[in-house]
């Protein structure tokens, strides 16, 4: 096992898939000559050339609409949204076209398309550049929504996403590119639509994903010192949602906390909590608590921004609350 960063993991996945399949190409703002705003595609332009690493105008409809069209006629584009917030400019394509076209035309063609998008707060970018709107996208049948929390998962899931014949929105977190983790040597993929227990425990189930995983693992360490063993289940894929490991864990612990970076109202946590109540009501020993972002546009000021985002201390407090 090699220890690499999230950035390296994503970069390796892209490169391996481009080497494996000539139909795979990249398009987006500053992905080529610049090397990617987050340096994920650094060196790609020199290696693969302008036809396979396409610098686009700042025109999200042309990028995502173009990727959809290219996918419909048999290519496997990986389109990059510099930030997921810019995806709102191309909302028609992400939620109203890509997830519908296969179904609406009776399966006449497929859409083997990946949209890589960088989301998340915590970098003092102000309200329009810092959102975690994952739940919006996960609302739509026909789209697959993936958001990994470790380098191992990022690499394996991105490779699966590129090989998938369906449109996949692959959400990365802006503050996690330097996160390091063990990654298997050589070729591997991780299936889309499988949640995973990232840490075993018997007292409380934490359900989370992406940045929430990083925070929850820290909270779990802290709680372990106090004798509380939490089990952390990582969604990894928001749609299609795999509830099995969550329900299995909950039947053991009977208590749960759901952690997400997005807003609490109508969020990922709302869905998870409902599903636990629907599928395991007899096992509930305490009300399930959601830890999420405060219901405000994210401010620029660092102190205020951090106060709005979920913190390790919030998770620790929530776990203790459900244990009362």
């Amino acid at each position: 096992m090699a220890k690499i960063t999230m950035r390296e993991a994503i970069s390796q996945a892209l490169m391996e898939e481009m080497d494996r399949d000539p139909k795979v190409f990249i398009m987006g703002e500053e992905v080529g000559v610049w090397g990617g705003t987050y340096a994920v595609t650094k060196g790609f332009y020199d290696k693969y050339g302008a036809m396979r690493v396409k610098d686009t105008p700042i025109a999200e409809n042309a990028i995502i609409g173009g990727a959809i069209g290219a996918a419909m006629v048999g290519q496997r584009p990986v389109a990059e949204l510099m930030t997921i917030n810019f995806g709102f400019s191309a909302m028609d394509y992400i939620i109203n076209q890509a997830p519908k076209l296969h179904y609406m035309f009776g399966g006449q063609f497929t859409l083997p398309l990946v949209i890589r998008a960088v989301g998340g707060g915590g970098r003092q970018l102000g309200a329009t550049h810092s959102q975690t709107p994952d739940a919006i996208f996960a609302h739509f049948p026909g789209l697959k929504v993936v958001s990994p929390g470790t380098p191992e998962d990022a690499k394996g899931l991105l490779k699966s996403a590129i090989r998938s014949n369906d449109p996949v929105l692959f959400i990365e977190h802006a503050t996690m590119y330097q996160v390091r983790g063990e990654v298997p040597e050589g070729e591997y993929t991780i299936p889309i639509g499988k949640s995973k227990v990232q840490r075993a425990g018997k007292d409380v189930t934490i359900v989370t994903y992406c940045k929430g995983l990083e925070l929850s693992m820290k909270a779990a360490d802290e709680l372990a010192k106090q004798g509380i063993e939490v089990e952390v289940v990582d969604l990894r894929t928001l749609r299609p949602l795999d509830m099995e490991p969550i329900i299995e864990s909950f039947k053991k612990t009977n208590r749960a906390v759901v952690v997400e970076e997005g807003w609490k109202s109508y969020g990922v946590g709302s869905e998870i909590v409902s599903r636990i109540y629907e599928e395991a009501f007899d096992y509930v020993d305490a009300p399930i608590i959601r830890v999420a972002q405060k219901e405000v546009p994210l401010p620029y000021n660092r102190t205020l921004e951090q106060a709005a985002l979920p913190q390790v201390a919030d998770i620790v407090a929530a776990v203790k609350e459900v244990l009362k």
């Binding site: 042309a62 290219a70 419909m72 290519q75």
Partner: protein
Amino acid sequence: MKKEQQLDLYYQMVLIRRLEERGAELYQAGKIGGFMHLYIGQEAVSTGLIAAREPRDRVITAYRDHGVALNCGISANEVMAELLGKATGMSKGKGGSMHMADTSKNMWGGHAIVGGHLPIASGFAIGDQYAGNDNITICMFGDGATNIGYFHEALNISKIWGLRVLWVCENNQYGMGTSVDRASAVTEIRQKAEGYGMKNGQVDGMDVTKVYEAAKEALEFVRKNAQPYLLEIDTYRFRGHSMGDPERYRKAEEVKKWQENDPIGIFNKQLLEKKITTAKVLDEIEARAEQEVVKAVEFAEASPEPAMSELFTDIYAD
């Protein structure tokens, strides 16, 4: 154009007219649901345009798509079945009037978000450019679609990347009920291509021969130069925007004036005046189209509803 091809185009235009007239009746009878937009009056546009393409050229259009589907070689049976939402439609009854497609005929839909299919058309051309072929994507849209951002993003990228797209604006003078001069900064849509340094042209859309010739020339330019081209085709829809249109925005005299330029009537007259054929032959062609529509309705009515399991199929390919 050879005589046989001209007669075939005449047949196609009459077939579209008759199929839609019957479709309107079935809509009124409640057998066709949703929105339905008739092409009546505009038949010469897609008939002349599609006749000029190579079979490998892709066609994508907006929601006024029944005629385009027929011109691309989709059978009247399948079009009618899709209108009736039957399992035998091209999209198994899941697309309906606004979403007619058969990719085996290189007809890629039928798209109902105004302007939304233009960047997808660029995408087809990106895919073909990447594959290294010289297929052309023919993207049809109305004048109303040229005022939305999609249009501009798509035209721009097609020019800077040298994409083989023939942009075809069917200027039927109205975006729903808003006339071009009330919605667009320039009423001559081709001028918008100038802003992108894009070659462009304009043609009378009531004359199928002129459309065919203009399309041939434009397609040749696109194929040869690996550059997009915008062709404005001026036309007029004789019916309302959709089936539920009170038509408060235009006067009956205006419609009547355009109807004197009926594209089928014009072509009929040309064929007779140039002595290409006889009235008897044209009557026979009309009867054949009529018969085809009768058969299509029978086929569609007799076809089964989609199985309930279709509800959950084709959401994902994997």
